[in-house]
C-alpha cells in the first residue's frame, strides 16, 4: 500500500508543483567532479528537467533511479552535452565539470566530450575491428603511434575484463561478438581515453544476468579510478553497486543520499515506496 502522504506528494508533482528535494547531508561534497546547479531542460515547449541541483562525488558510483520518463537519461546526456544534437532542446541553469562551466558558450563541446566516456543502453560497437573500436577515441585526436594504440587497447580491454576473451581476434569485426561482449567493448572504448567521468545509460538493460554480473563487477573495479554516473532501472543493481543514489520523478530530484540509507531508511516516504517496488 502506498501511504497517503506519498500519493499526495507524487500527485502534486504530477500536477506541476515543485517539490523541495531531500538531499542528505552526506551528499554535500566539497570538491565534486560534476556540480549541477538549478539545471532545467526543455524539449521545445515541454519542460523535462526541473531545477535539478546535485553534486557528483569524485571516484564514486552514483546511480540515478526513477520510473520511465523521469528525466534521468536526459540529465545524464546533459553532462556531456549530447542533448545539443537535438535541435529543439533548450537549457537553463548550470553544470560544472571540475569547477568549469560545461555550458559556457566558450566551451568546445568536442573537447568536453573527450573528457568523458559514455556507455549506452544498447551496445553500439562501430562496424570495424575490435581493435579499431577500442582505439577510436585516440584515432579521432590523431594518434597514429602503433605502440601507444596497442598499449591503450590492451589496457582498456583488460579494464573492461574483455582482454582474455578477445586477445586472439582483435582484428576481427566487432559485430561478431556476443551482446555482453559488445557492451563491455563499449566500456573499453569509453575508458580508452582516460575520461574524468564515465556516464552509463542503463548499460545492462539489454543483457542477461551473467553479462550483467560481469558489468557490475567491472564497475566495482573501475570505481576509484573513474567517477561513474549510472542510470538504471534495476533497483538491485543500484543497491548492489552504487555508493550514492538519486531518485527522480517526472523531471524533479526527489531524494539524493548514500545508497545504503536510500534503500533502507530514506527520508521520504515516496522514495521508500519506489525502491521497494510499490510503484513505478
Amino acid at each position: 500500500m502506498i501511504t497517503d502522504s506519498a500519493v499526495n506528494r507524487l500527485a502534486a508533482i504530477a500536477a506541476g508543483e515543485m517539490c523541495t528535494p531531500a538531499v542528505h547531508e552526506e551528499c554535500h561534497f566539497d570538491a565534486p567532479i560534476v556540480d549541477i546547479e538549478k539545471f532545467n531542460l526543455y524539449y521545445g515547449a515541454k519542460r523535462a528537467l526541473f531545477d535539478i541541483s546535485m553534486s557528483i562525488p569524485k571516484g564514486q558510483i552514483t546511480a540515478l533511479v526513477g520510473p520511465s520518463g523521469c528525466g534521468k537519461s536526459t540529465l545524464l546526456r546533459s553532462v556531456n552535452r549530447l542533448n545539443d544534437l537535438i535541435d529543439i532542446v533548450r537549457i537553463e541553469g548550470g553544470m560544472k565539470l571540475n569547477g568549469e562551466n560545461i555550458y559556457d558558450p566558450a566551451v568546445d563541446v568536442i573537447e568536453l566530450r573527450k573528457r568523458m566516456g559514455m556507455v549506452f543502453q544498447k551496445s553500439n560497437p562501430f562496424p570495424m575491428s575490435i581493435f579499431e573500436n577500442v582505439v577510436y577515441p585516440l584515432r579521432i585526436v590523431g594518434i597514429r603511434d602503433k605502440t601507444v594504440l596497442e598499449e591503450t587497447c590492451e589496457r582498456s580491454l583488460r579494464g573492461a575484463a574483455l582482454w582474455d576473451e578477445v586477445k586472439d581476434r582483435l582484428h576481427e569485426n566487432a559485430l561478431g561478438m556476443s551482446g555482453g561482449q559488445q557492451q563491455r567493448l563499449c566500456i573499453a572504448r569509453a575508458i580508452a581515453a582516460d575520461p574524468e567521468v564515465l556516464l552509463m545509460d542503463e548499460p545492462c538493460s539489454a543483457l542477461d544476468p551473467i553479462a550483467t554480473g560481469k558489468i557490475e563487477e567491472l564497475m566495482a573495479e573501475l570505481k576509484g579510478q573513474y567517477t561513474i554516473l549510472i542510470v538504471t532501472h534495476n533497483m538491485q543493481q543500484a543497491a548492489r553497486s552504487s555508493d550514492y543514489t538519486a531518485f527522480m520523478y517526472l523531471g524533479q530530484l526527489i531524494e539524493y543520499g548514500p545508497t545504503a540509507t536510500i534503500f533502507t531508511n530514506p527520508q521520504l516516504q515516496e522514495t521508500q515506496e519506489y525502491v521497494t517496488g510499490r510503484f513505478g
Binding site: E111, R115, M128
Partner: protein
C-alpha cells in the same frame, strides 16, 4: 456445449482458408484476381520483351542457308530468307501478276510471300526481293552458293567463277577457288591492316602536327596582328614544319601506294543468280563462306567470329554492318565520367541534407524538389546541357583557351562533346544519387552517431569514420542505379554530343590519351539510329536487336554488380548483432 460448437466451426473455417487446393473463387477474395492479375500481366510483358530481344538478338548472327528460288519467268533469285508474311489477293495484286498466273488466284485468298535478302546492292540496286508462292516454281539449296561480307556495298551472294592471282592463269575450279581465297585472305588482311594504320594513325599524326603548328601561327596573328614581326616569324616557323610534314606524308603516301599494289592483283570473279558477273577485290572481303556446305561446328565458329566482330570492330555501311566497338567505348566512357561527376556531388549534397541541415519546412520543400527533379523529362536536361554546358561554358572556355580554332569557326569545347554529355547526364542522375544516399544515411542507426559523439568525435569525423562506411552499400547502390540510368539514356545525348559515326574514339593512344572534347557514339543512340534513321532498315534490323541485347546486358550487369557489392559491403559493415 455451445461454446464447443463455436470453436469447432471456427477451426473448420480457418482450415478452409488454408486449403491449398481450394479454387481461388471460393476463397472470397475477389481483389486477389485483380492484384494478382496485374502482377502476372506485367511479368508476362517483361518476359515477352526480354525473350523476344534475346531470341532475335541471339540468333541474328547464326549463318542462314542460302536458297535459290526459281520463279515462273525462269529467273532465279538467290538469298537468305529474311521473313515471311501473307498478303490478301485483290484487284491491285492481281494486276501486278503476269497474265499467265492471274487465273490461279481468287479474290480474298491469302497468298504467302517471302522476303529474300538477295544482297548484291552494287549490281542490282536492291538488298531485298519479295517472292510470292503464286509465282514460285522451285526451291533449291545450291551447295556452291557463296556469301561474301565486304567492306563496302554490303554482302554479295552468288557463285564463284574464277580467282585471279597477280598475273597467273585464273583458277576456275570451285573448290580450288575457295581454297585459294582462304590461303591468301589472311595475308591480305595483314597488309590491309598495315595500310589502315598508316592512313589513320601515321598520316593522322602528321596532319595533327601540322594543324597544331598552323593554329599556333593563327594564335600569334590574333594576338599581335597580321603586320607584326611576331606573326611573320610564326608563319616562317609554320612553313618549315609544313614542308617537313608534306615531305613526311609524301613518303607515307608512297608506302600506302605500295601496299595497295600488293593487294590489288587479287580478284575474285563472282556470278549472281541471274548470271551477272562482278569482280570483287580480295582486300574488300571481310569474310567468305558457303553457308549450305557448312557443318554445325563451322557455323558455330562463324557465329562466334561475327560476335567478336560485332563487339570489337568499327561499324561499316552506315552502321548496318561491322561492329559497335566505338559505341561501347563511348557508352562506357561517358558513364564513367558521369559517375565521377555525379557521385561526389550527390553524396556531398545528401550529407548536408541529412547530417547538417536542421529539419524544417525549407528542407521538406528541397527534398520534394529533388524527388521531382528525377521526374523531369530527360530531353529538358538535354536542352539545358546544350545551352549551358556546350554554348555558355564550352563557348566561354573556347574563347579563352582556343581562340585560333574559334576564329575559324571550329569550336573545340563549344559543341557537343563527351564531357558535356557526361555533365548533362550527371545533372540528370544527381537526384537518384541524393535519394539513395539519403536513404542509406537514414538507415545508419543514431546509436552509432551518438557513440561516436560520446567519444568526442566531431561531426565530420563521425560522418567520415562511422556513418559513411556504414552507408557505403546504399551509396554504391545509388551510384549503380545512376550509372544504369545514364547508360540507357538517349534523348538528351542527341543534343549534347552523341553522333551517328564518330571518326575518332574519345580515348586512344595519341596526345593526352583521353579526349573529352570529342563527340562520341553511344549504344542507345546507335539503336535509334539503326532502327529509325537507316536507309536500309531491313538489313539493319539484326543489328538493332543485337545492339539492344548488348545494351540490356550492360545495364543488367551493372545492376548485378550493384547487388553483389551491396551484399559484400553489408556483410562487412552492418553485420548481425547478438
Amino acid at each position: 456445449m455451445s461454446d464447443n460448437r463455436t470453436e469447432h466451426v471456427l477451426n473448420k473455417k480457418e482450415r478452409f482458408h488454408l486449403l491449398p487446393g481450394l479454387p481461388l473463387i471460393a476463397r472470397n477474395e475477389p481483389m486477389l484476381w485483380l492484384t494478382g492479375g496485374a502482377l502476372v500481366l506485367s511479368l508476362a510483358l517483361i518476359v515477352l520483351l526480354l525473350s523476344y530481344i534475346f531470341y532475335q538478338g541471339g540468333t541474328s548472327f547464326w549463318p542462314q542457308p542460302v536458297e535459290a528460288y526459281v520463279v515462273h519467268d525462269g529467273s532465279t533469285i538467290m538469298g537468305e530468307q529474311a521473313r515471311e508474311d501473307t498478303i490478301e489477293v485483290d484487284e491491285t495484286y492481281r494486276s501486278q501478276l503476269p497474265e499467265a498466273l492471274r487465273a490461279g488466284v481468287t479474290d480474298g485468298e491469302e497468298v504467302e510471300r517471302m522476303l529474300i535478302r538477295t544482297a548484291n546492292f552494287d549490281v542490282t540496286n536492291t538488298h531485298f526481293h519479295w517472292v510470292d508462292t503464286t509465282e514460285l516454281v522451285s526451291v533449291s539449296v545450291p551447295p556452291t552458293a557463296t556469301v561474301i561480307e565486304r567492306l563496302s556495298w554490303g554482302r554479295f551472294i552468288g557463285t564463284p567463277i574464277s580467282l585471279q592471282i597477280q598475273e597467273e592463269e585464273p583458277i576456275t575450279d570451285p573448290t580450288a577457288i575457295m581454297e585459294g581465297v582462304d590461303e591468301h585472305l589472311a595475308g591480305i588482311h595483314d597488309v590491309l591492316e598495315r595500310r589502315i594504320h598508316l592512313e589513320k594513325a601515321t598520316l593522322g599524326e602528321i596532319r595533327a602536327h601540322e594543324e597544331s603548328a598552323r593554329l599556333e601561327s593563327v594564335e600569334v596573328r590574333l594576338e599581335h596582328g597580321e603586320e607584326s614581326q611576331h606573326y611573320v616569324e610564326a608563319l616562317a616557323a609554320y612553313q618549315v614544319i609544313k614542308e617537313h610534314c608534306v615531305e613526311e606524308s609524301a613518303s607515307v603516301l608512297a608506302q600506302i601506294e605500295n601496299l595497295k599494289k600488293e593487294t590489288a592483283p587479287y580478284t575474285l570473279r563472282m556470278a549472281t543468280a541471274s548470271g551477272q558477273e562482278a569482280d570483287i577485290p580480295l582486300e574488300e572481303i571481310v569474310r567468305i563462306y558457303q553457308p549450305n556446305a557448312l557443318s554445325f561446328m563451322d557455323k558455330l565458329g562463324l557465329y562466334g567470329a561475327r560476335w567478336m566482330e560485332f563487339l570489337f570492330d568499327d561499324p561499316r555501311e552506315a552502321n548496318s554492318e561491322g561492329g559497335v566497338w566505338p559505341a561501347i567505348i563511348g557508352t562506357v566512357m561517358m558513364t564513367m565520367i558521369m559517375t565521377i561527376f555525379v557521385v561526389p556531388f550527390g553524396v556531398m549534397a545528401s550529407l548536408y541534407l541529412s547530417e547538417y541541415a536542421k529539419s524544417g519546412g525549407l528542407m521538406s520543400i528541397i527534398r520534394i524538389a529533388i524527388n521531382n527533379l528525377a521526374g523531369v523529362p530527360s530531353i529538358v536536361f538535354g536542352v539545358f546541357g546544350l545551352g549551358f554546358f556546350c554554348t555558355t561554358i564550352g563557348g566561354g572556355l573556347d574563347n579563352w583557351l582556343f581562340p585560333a580554332e574559334v576564329s575559324e569557326g571550329r569550336p573545340v569545347l563549344g559543341k557537343g562533346t563527351i564531357l558535356w554529355a557526361s555533365a548533362t547526364l550527371a545533372l540528370l542522375t544527381v537526384p537518384v544519387v541524393i535519394v539513395a544516399t539519403e536513404e542509406a544515411l537514414r538507415a545508419v542507426p543514431n546509436s552509432m552517431r551518438e557513440g561516436s559523439y560520446g567519444c568526442g568525435a566531431s561531426k565530420w569525423q563521425t560522418i567520415w569514420r562511422i556513418v559513411m562506411p556504414r552507408a557505403l552499400p546504399g551509396i554504391m547502390t545509388g551510384m549503380i542505379l545512376a550509372m544504369a540510368r545514364g547508360a540507357g539514356e538517349v534523348a538528351p545525348l542527341m543534343l549534347v554530343g552523341a553522333v551517328k559515326l564518330a571518326p575518332e574514339l574519345p580515348i586512344d593512344m595519341h596526345g593526352t590519351f583521353i579526349h573529352p572534347e570529342r563527340s562520341f557514339m553511344h549504344l542507345g543512340f546507335h539503336i535509334y539510329d539503326l532502327g529509325l534513321q537507316s536507309q536500309n532498315s531491313e538489313a539493319a534490323k539484326p543489328m538493332v536487336f543485337t545492339t539492344t541485347l548488348l545494351l540490356i546486358s550492360i545495364v543488367v550487369s551493372l545492376n548485378l554488380i550493384a547487388i553483389w557489392m551491396r551484399k559484400r559491403l553489408a556483410r562487412r559493415f552492418v553485420g548481425g548483432t547478438f
